[in-house]
């Protein structure tokens, strides 16, 4: 999410990552090396905050602005990281909010 003022200056940004990390630990089946590296069942979910099917994630943010702010342009995008250095925007929403009207 990015919030910019009427001059295009970035006032607020926020990023949320959905990710799954599976790692091999010494305590895992068979240790580190060999075919365990290819064994999904020998991995430990260190981080699993994937968004499951039919689930909705909702986040609320408040951006405090300067007194002379007339309007802000908000852009929210959902990107998918396909590989290191290779992400793509899958969906994007823009909204303009005006003050003093």
């Amino acid at each position: 999410m990015t919030v910019k003022d009427q001059k295009g200056k970035v006032l607020f940004t926020k990023t949320k990552e959905y990710e799954v990390y599976d790692l091999h630990l010494p305590s895992n089946k068979g240790g580190y090396l060999g075919f365990d590296d290819w064994d999904l069942t020998a991995m430990t979910h260190i981080v699993d905050n994937a968004l499951e099917p039919l689930e909705t994630d909702s986040e609320t943010y408040v951006a405090l602005l300067k007194e002379d702010t007339k309007s802000v342009d908000i852009e929210v995008s959902f990107s998918y990281l396909y590989e290191e250095g290779g992400s793509a925007v899958i969906s994007k929403v823009n909204k303009k909010v005006e003050f003093g009207k």
Binding site: Y18, V20, W38, L40, I74, F99
Partner: protein
């Protein structure tokens, strides 16, 4: 390990080495012969084009697949005593290159060697030649339509075409093949053997694959659609391009993103100052059948 990067490939890996699938084919052409699908495109040009753009059409030669197999061979097979490179056939190629099931142990080791060459060789012409040779083993029409099932245990049946039962063309007259109605081709279970990769009964928590996640995170929560209804939608419900998360237009269909933003004011009570503020609520709904990132 970054799971999302590997998951597409890992799902088709079996967890423990299967019984060896040693066949008798000593050349790639020999192994691929039973899967020759050249005749299919003469009548099914649109479907052939769809398949050509699919990941199935590069199931062994996609660069990411090649590199993953390369690592499997060099860091797995080559380092363990008593393990031969032919294990690639038994663990991976049963799904990634069904025709390789017919490979003799010697040919299976040669195929593994070609994978390493295609992924790593410094000489571009050697990489290209190895890739071209391996591409004969990619999943094609008969990988799915030539047997009653796919994946481990699947056996191609000569001169038979299996179809889901929607106006089968006259295969008998055209190419001498019997057409056999196979309603299970419309079910998710048909795809499962290759998009699963876990021992039976293993949960998504222990083994998150496309299949376990689909079952436990989608069907169990009210999801109704089959693999085919999403991944073969379009072209009258028979798209063979099998779009997935890597196709951005298709990926878009898996999420709903919304933003509500309202102007407000914030009162700094210590400084008696009021400033404008904006309250923003973002909602992201996963309307697909797999986790994001998917398992």
């Amino acid at each position: 390990m970054r799971f999302l990067i590997l998951c597409l490939l890992l799902v088709s890996l079996a967890i423990a080495p299967h019984a060896a699938f040693a066949g008798s084919a000593n050349t790639i052409d020999e192994a691929a012969a039973a899967y020759n699908s050249e005749k299919c495109k003469e009548c099914h040009d649109d479907i052939h084009k769809g398949w050509s753009s699919s990941w199935h059409s590069k199931s062994i030669v996609d660069p990411r697949t090649l590199k993953t197999f390369r690592t499997f061979i060099l860091s797995g097979a080559d380092k363990l005593p008593g393990v031969k490179r032919s294990i690639l056939r038994d663990m991976c190629l049963i799904c990634h290159a069904p025709a390789a099931a017919a490979a003799s142990d010697e040919l299976a080791e040669k195929i593994s060697g070609l994978v390493v060459t295609a992924a790593d060789d410094k000489d571009a012409s050697k990489r290209e030649a190895a890739t071209k040779e391996l591409s004969k083993l990619n999943i094609n029409c008969l990988s799915c339509h030539g047997a009653k099932s796919v994946g481990p245990g699947s056996q191609i049946e000569p001169n038979k075409i299996y179809g889901p039962g929607k106006g089968e063309p006259p295969h008998k007259d055209a190419i001498g093949y019997d057409t056999v109605k196979l309603p299970s081709m419309k079910t998710s279970e048909f795809c499962a053997p290759c998009h699963h990769g876990c021992p039976p009964g293993m949960s998504s928590k222990e083994c998150p694959t496309q299949w376990t996640v689909y079952q436990e995170h989608y069907l169990a929560h009210g999801g109704k659609q089959t693999c085919q209804e999403c991944h073969m939608a379009g072209e009258g419900g028979a798209s063979h391009s099998f779009p997935g998360i890597y196709e951005k237009d298709f990926a878009k269909t898996a999420v709903e993103l919304s933003l509500d933003a309202q102007p407000t004011r914030h009162f700094y009570q210590l400084t008696n100052k009021v400033v404008p503020a904006v309250v923003m609520n973002v909602k992201l709904k996963n309307i697909g059948a797999h986790d994001i990132p998917h398992g």
